[in-house]
């Protein structure tokens, strides 16, 4: 006999989700404040440096907020030179194949650490934002768990649950990555996305706790969907990084060509090359995850419908996403396709993920149409 559902738990869960969304909103404001404040601070440093050194170049490269690069025109000059000089400019150089790419010729105007490690310097608003995000994610976790307890099963059986649990995983993965890398510059994006997902879940896709339809009653639901959600969370991070990479690369080119630096806040963001390298590493993990998603989906489809592949709409899109990211990995090994073009592929791949999750779930008919709508 199926487990009896617990409505009270379900109601607690909904309350917790709203509380989490509220906490995230405050965290979002703190992240935004951090961006604004830091870019103001950076500009102030620039001005001072410009006064001191009297040259524009030094001002551009003046070390400010991060990476432990000490301020002062000597270091700045050294840094600029190193970028031009090549080999010594290891700060911008990955150890291997992608080294010495033309478009990275100048990292001038760069302030954030290339290795995305934490700098000694404290950014109070960012710390507040992270603390709030941690608080939010704890509340959110409680919401997800109470939902699971209320329904007596894994909390991903319909759109409402995909959204709430998906948002949780996205924020949790972000926080986990934060332990090792200073990706706080992605905070507004990740937390903002989580808020949107929670609000959409509560407003547009609200579904009370309930049993699973028989088609979903399988341990493959646990395996297949959890890996899919995890991979998607990682793709979310790389999407943001790739988008920033495009902006950063444009900005670096402008600055290198002597143009004005209109996007001062982008100094909080590491160089385009560092973004590319880290997002490649995350994408590689996520791609393996997606490969498993695809495979486990096929195995499940075999169990449920008797064929492991039938080009059902959801299957088509999962395949398309897989091929696009395979293309991305290829691009990274193809001359002329690294950098900006690879970033575009990463972005297109993520748009497919979003499309698969929203439009396909909602408007396309197929065997997967049990998303609870």
């Amino acid at each position: 006999m199926p487990f009896a559902i617990n409505e009270t738990m379900g109601q607690y869960s909904e309350l917790l989700m709203l509380l989490a969304a509220g906490t995230y909103t405050v965290a979002f404001i703190a992240f935004a404040w951090d961006l604004a404040k830091s870019s103001r601070a950076l500009r102030a440093v620039d001005l001072k440096a410009a006064e001191a050194a009297g040259t524009k170049v030094a001002a551009m490269a003046g070390a400010g907020a991060s990476a432990g690069a000490s301020a002062g025109s000597a270091a700045a000059a050294n840094r600029v030179e190193s970028h031009l000089a090549g080999p010594v400019g290891r700060a911008e150089r990955p150890s291997s194949s992608v080294a010495k790419r033309g478009d990275e010729g100048s990292g001038a105007g760069q302030t954030a650490g290339a290795d995305m490690r934490y700098a000694a310097e404290r950014r109070v608003p960012a710390r507040v934002a992270v603390a709030l995000t941690v608080l939010g994610v704890l509340i959110h976790a409680a919401g997800v768990i109470t939902r699971a307890v209320g329904a007596g099963r894994v909390p991903w059986g319909n759109m409402y649950e995909f959204l709430t649990t998906g948002a949780f995983v996205a924020v949790a993965v972000f926080l986990l990555v934060l332990i090792r890398r200073d990706l706080r510059f992605l905070g507004t994006f990740v937390v903002g996305l989580a808020i949107i997902m929670l609000v959409a879940a509560s407003v547009a896709y609200w579904t009370p706790v309930g049993h699973l339809v028989p088609a979903l009653q399988s341990y493959w639901l646990i395996i297949h969907v959890s890996i899919a959600v995890l991979s998607s969370a990682l793709f979310t991070l790389t999407f943001a990084m790739s988008a920033l990479q495009l902006v950063q690369s444009h900005r670096q080119k402008t600055v290198a060509a002597g143009g004005a630096d209109k996007l001062g806040f982008m100094r909080l963001v590491p160089s385009a090359l560092s973004l590319e390298n880290l997002s490649y590493r995350i994408n590689a993990i996520a791609f393996i995850g997606w490969t498993f998603t695809l495979m486990f989906g096929a195995i499940w489809a075999e169990k449920a419908w008797g064929r492991f592949w039938g080009w059902d709409t959801k299957e088509v899109w999962t395949f398309v996403i897989w091929v696009v990211y395979a293309g991305y990995l290829h691009a990274r090994a193809t001359r002329g396709w690294t950098g900006t073009r690879a970033a575009w592929l990463s972005i297109v791949g993520y748009l497919c993920v979003v499309f698969n999750f929203t439009i396909v779930n909602q408007f396309f008919n197929g065997l997967h149409s049990y998303s609870g709508l």
């Binding site: 006999m1 199926p2 009896a4 559902i5 409505e7 990476a67 290891r90 700060a91 911008e92 150089r93 990955p94 150890s95 291997s96 194949s97 992608v98 080294a99 290339a114 290795d115 490690r117 090792r180 579904t207 009370p208 309930g210 049993h211 699973l212 339809v213 028989p214 088609a215 009653q217 493959w220 560092s274 390298n277 590689a284 791609f287 393996i288 490969t291 498993f292 495979m295 195995i299 499940w300 169990k303 008797g306 064929r307 492991f308 592949w309 080009w311 059902d312 709409t313 088509v316 899109w317 395949f319 398309v320 091929v323 696009v324 293309g327 290829h330 090994a333 193809t334 001359r335 396709w337």
Partner: protein, 586 residues
Amino acid sequence: MSERVKANKKSPAPVAAAKTEALPVLGPVEMLRWAWTQLTSMRTALFLLLLLAVAAVPGSLFPQRPANPSIVTQYIKDNPDYGKLLDTLQLYDVYSSAWFSAIYILLFISLIGCVVPRAIAHYRAMRSQPPRTPKRLSRLPEYGTLVVPADAGLPASDAIRSAAGVLRKRGYRVEVRDDDGARPSLGAERGFAKEVGNLVFHTSLIGVLVSVAVGGLFGYSGQRILVEGDTFVNTLVGYDQFTPGTNFQSSQLQPYSIQLDKFDVTFDRESRGKIGQPIDFNAEVTTRETPDSPAKQEILKVNEPVNLGGTSIYLTGNGYAPVVTIRDGAGNVAMQGPVVAKLQGENYYSSLVIKVPDARPEQLGFVGFFLPTAFITDEGVSFSGDPDLFNPQLTLNSYFGDLGLDAGAPQNVFELDVSDLTPLNARNLDAGGITLAPGGTYTLPDGKGSISFDSVKRYVGVDIHHNPGQLYALIFALLAVGGLIVSLYVNRRRVWVRTGSHQDGRTMVEYGLLARGEDHRLAAEAAVIRKLLSEEWQIEDSVSGESSDDSDSDSTGTQQTPSRQDDNGADSLTSPAGPTGPKKDQ
């Protein structure tokens, strides 16, 4: 990565040049070779991959014949202006279309053309010694020096041998060169598994494709509806619908049998907004492997197929089958038994058609609905209020005349063409429609006979599949993931060490590292090797201690610096500066 990729990376310019200048003299062989080079280049592979992604999309936008033939027919009818055109473009059969096939076949030819030469090259590389020691190690992405104090009494040749030992222990394949000379050196390499993984991955993709093709050739599938009490025997006539693979032979069918004893559905009675949603389907079946085998009781559920005689049997549908008895005008029982009602709407609102060709003097036909829990609104619209049998009801219209079955043309059992029949019962006729509850009997007008609604049974729809390729597809898919992980996470690295003796008796050591392909941990590896060597020679090395505790160290940023430090003026060691730098292979 591989030699092949390298060649391709460098090829565009020369090829372009050759094209403009030498085109007239290109013979057919050269043309072929040129085409082959193009097809097997990374750029083409990338292009074909992206094209494949794009080409797969229309299959999700338009209805597809293999999944839904009837919807496609309807779609063409509904869109007379472009429906036919889409058909010409094979947009209803995307995944078997000429263009989609062309893309993936080209991709796989390219794949083979890519994998084979690389496999050969890699096999050679694995058997050959690590590349010669570059003249200037300092040009390598990771470079460092160590100095062994004179009082350690370690000559350059011993140092290189012990360094070789250290690297061997770390999994490197090492070759010591010139170890009795003045400048002994060693070349070491590890991580051959990376390329092997990559090759396994790509080869396995071919394996998956072939397995799928095999399944299509030798597999078969079919459907059957089973009312409680029915038995299915696995022969061609046993199927309601059968789809053989290209090479199917009916001798492949093992004559097993499966009987549906009982089918239970559990409906949700507690979730808000979902009352009446089915939450469990449970079919009790009796199976026999062959007609003579002992009977076996099994449970068939959604997500839990029954495996029998090399096939898998899946529960894919269900519904109600009212049991009726129909007597004809002569008073004889012309038909008795369950009639499968087809699901139409919510709560098992189902339609049914009864054809009674045996009725005399006139054949009879019935068309109508079955509702498990019937409700009638004030406007006279009927609907089913619940999926369970709380108030089962049959509402039927009846006809008499020639059903057209005797002509022998196959007919859809779920449809009755009433155009040549005379209506007996309908809501707009004087006699009205027929409404029956279980146990009820209705006498047809004009002495045409009667119909009794005896009881209600349930039925299940099962899909039966045999796919001999599927196990191989799974094996290859697992191999592919394994290869992928190895390929992405094993790093292929080369290390060179060179030693020499300073006039003052110190032994100077320099080393350099080079990665092939993406390797963000090269700096960390350099730090580890530095540490291992320092320990081996018992040198105090504060620098390496700092950076090696961070195993995930990026090669970028400040972490890099330690391994670059020319700490003890070991510059004197650098060989007479030859312009030839390290032979880089990226």
